[in-house]
Symmetry: C2
Subunit: 267 residues, 2 copies
């Protein structure tokens, strides 16, 4: 196979990392109906108060989901990369009280949620992939919550950078140089800070020798150090088991005994 030229093939490729697709699975997926749209930065993809079930496949560019309070304060809840299938939760289960918006310009393919639901019903492998994606969404969301709730500004921004480097690289090691697809204000909205403070925090990370580069071009000068102050552990991203020799097993919290299958620490 390879190179059917379908616009949604990148989406398929990413999903295939999450389950073992058969040729039939692949074919059926590529048969999905969709509409491709070019979108500029800032375009709203879907809104919290809208019921229309629609899934968005991000072909090029970057997008996010966010929640906006009456005060105007915004919390970005997830960031999406080219190849991502966005709004699974909202599309497949009903509105999700989140807004979807492009961070940069790019293009998307709109897929009717009903079609995707059908496909996932007929193709258990597709279903499994979607389920796992949804799991990753949740996992990432809770990691972000810990980020926003329990880390200081430096660690928050460092963590975001680590995550981006890792996700941009796919399954390999983290990229050392890349372009952050967000303005400092958007970084602020993702980390629960203000744009001004993000600016100063980036400067501190630079002065500390952890990153280099100006503007949105980020070069990671000291991955170890950056990951350390961020306490970054890529497990939550659910990437395949490539670089699995993690630095786990260390100083977790040894409050309870050893772990094993059968919950022997339950009473």
């Amino acid at each position: 196979m390879g190179g059917t030229g379908s616009p949604i093939e990148p989406i398929l490729l990413k999903l295939e990392n999450l389950a073992e697709f058969s040729d039939a699975d692949r074919e059926d997926f590529l048969k999905l109906d969709y509409v491709v749209r070019r979108v500029s930065a800032g375009t709203t993809l879907f809104r919290e108060d809208e019921k229309s079930p629609q899934c968005v496949a991000l072909l090029t560019g970057f997008a996010c989901r966010h929640r906006t309070l009456k005060s105007g304060a915004r919390q970005i809840v997830s960031v999406h990369f080219p190849g991502d299938l966005i709004n699974l939760q909202g599309g497949l289960a009903g509105s999700c009280a989140l807004n979807g918006q492009m961070l940069t310009s790019g293009s998307v393919a709109l897929i009717a949620a009903a079609d995707l639901r059908c496909l996932s019903f007929e193709r258990p492998v597709v279903q499994k992939a979607i389920w796992r994606q949804s799991w990753i969404d949740f996992s990432t969301c809770s990691e972000w919550m810990a980020n926003v709730g329990r880390r200081d500004a430096c660690a928050r921004v460092a963590h975001l950078i680590c995550e981006f480097a890792t996700r941009l690289q796919g399954n390999g090691r983290a990229k050392m140089t890349f372009e952050l697809p967000m303005t400092q204000e958007q970084i602020a909205d993702a980390t629960g800070l203000t744009a001004v403070h993000v600016n100063r925090t980036l400067q501190r990370l630079r002065r500390a020798g952890l990153i280099r580069g100006s503007g949105r071009a980020i070069e990671i000068a000291d991955w170890q150090g950056l990951a350390a102050i961020a306490e970054f552990d890529r497990t939550y991203l659910g990437l395949s088991a490539h670089g699995r020799a993690h630095e786990r097993e260390r100083g977790r919290n040894p409050r309870v005994g050893v772990q094993n299958q059968n919950n022997q620490y339950l009473n």
Copy 2:
């Protein structure tokens, strides 16, 4: 039906709110294997570094999932009520990098994730219910993230109280009086504050006449006011469509045009 006496019947009842179970669905669900355990407050239910896929059905008492940083700082990511099925993400898709822990004493039924996976495969309705539950988990998680990232201490605590009141009540209106099943330190861990500050915040809410009662007994004195400062909107909890006459449609953000099915604001 009604009153088979099975310990996991409360779980079933809650799931039935999320999809239309047939009698066969119900029966098969109740046939699931499980082991019941009494657990004391603080008992660890599952750990982030553990692979054993196991789902926990919370029969009595309250539980939470949390993430702990090396510094010892803890972020509680979700709170679970009697009748909840916990760790769907971790159990069905692999470890979730989250710890599960009892907030109070209580009892749980352990269900092998594989069994649940099987059931959900054979019973699309069960699957739908589980999918919707997972959606609610995500939805709640992102609401909490907005809470922790973008609201001040008063609003955060008020929001937590509103959510608890609403969830305790099931589908009706919010309870006016109930017992918070968490210590102030746990509230702090859920809201990204410190225990000391939670204490002072609760006092402010009392002085403001929004809540009454001492200790964990909470009486909501002014639901309107409390929900207002918290910007609480129960939609994200995915409760059935009872009190749907929301206070929506008001001052959202009118940045983009009208919404309708076909994404006409895309370009």
